[in-house]
Amino acid sequence: MKIIPGAICEPGTTRVNKTGGWRTYRPIYDYDKCIKCKLCELLCPESSVLPKDDGFFEFDYDFCKGCGICANECPKQAIEMVLEEK
């Protein structure tokens, strides 16, 4: 790798730098409670809530930072924040 003066580079460096490693709490779905309202997908600041073919959602744990907005906003308490254990 050569560096360019001014620290100039192509965008999209987080494709390599997986920021999900910053997470303390991991969100977990309870699909029995989920009503597919999409609020979690709309409100996720990291676009880490991905739709599945069956209408439910799943988390992209490579980039989810565990902020808990989805769990806080879910009207059915279908998302639980669980402490990450390494």
């Binding site: 560096i3 360019i4 003066p5 001014g6 620290a7 100039i8 580079c9 192509e10 965008p11 460096t13």
Partner: protein, 404 residues
Amino acid sequence: MTATHDVDMEKMVVVEGSYSVAHAVKVCRPNVISAYPITPQTHIVEDLSQFMADGEIPGCEYLNVESEFSAISALVGASAAGARTYSATTSQGLELMHEVLFNVSGMRLPVVMTVVNRAVSAPINIWNDHQDSISQRDTGWIQLYAEDTQEAADMTAQAFKIAEDKDVLMPAMVCMDGFILSHVYEPVVLLEQDLVDQYLPTFDPEFVLDPKNPMSFGAFADPSTYTEFRYLQEKAMGVALRKIEDAANEFNEIFGRYYGGLIEEYNTEDAEIIIMAMGSIIGTLKDVIDAHSSKGEKIGLVKVRSFRPFPKFEIKKALKDAKMVVVLDKNISIGLNEGALFTETKACLYNTHIDVPVAGYMIGHGGRDIPVSTIEKIIDEAKAAMKTGIDIESQFTDLREELL
């Protein structure tokens, strides 16, 4: 080589120092000007606003901003997008820019800025000294100091040429003494548009901020790469040493005016005592030295035009045969009791075979007048120190002890 003014009286006009600088900026064809008014820089931006209102700077946008922090931040984006950019400030305004000054230089953006040197608060004081720009010395900006209003104008065009050079790409401050130069009316030659066009190529950076070809500027660097960015900045400053000389020589060829490159030597050949300084005080010093020369006394002057990059080689060469060196500083590093030029001159003589005593005088703080009598007193002390050695290494000049 000493300064030469091949001046055409027909072309001379009597204008304010600020106007001659604003006019120089205009003929350099900037694309974005962003500045916030502050005394004593105000007249420069007023004149530029007038040029804009009169449609005299085509292809240029003048941004009204709410602070100096915004003024310089706006130029980060503009310069990255490929614009030739200009700002002007002083004192508290420059200190407010501090954080962004590092970003400009780290992102290698060749912004040119006039610093109309003024003291810093507290106590509040609007008059001239060099504390403001000296406080920014480690931000990675080129710093050039002008002796008179003609040089301040000419240095503006030189600064664009140096800063935008592909092998330099570092921002530059053109420092001129507040009021003493900014508000004085002197005869000058205003820079001719056709000659500036011949002197200054268009700014054509390799990388530009462009939505069609997105790039990140000033990106993240972790410990594995950060050192190398600093190394490259230092290397660019090394290249700038040569480019500052080149820019002065080319300017001389086209405009017929020369003020020295990195330094100007005045009467230094065979000089026993050499005085060093920067800025408008040089004029007074030249007069005093002329008077002493006519009596056969060997006193010389080193005018430092480039404080960053610091011209170690040229300074060592100029001082090597002197018996006594006196450095005058319009600033102080509080807690060291030394001015910056003094400290750095001493430092560059260490680890060499040059063994000359160097004395420092901090002078003209907050615009205190520097009369010929004060310079004479300093020369008398230097003559005594040549015989008996330095009594006080660094001191305040003309301290009013009755107030303490």
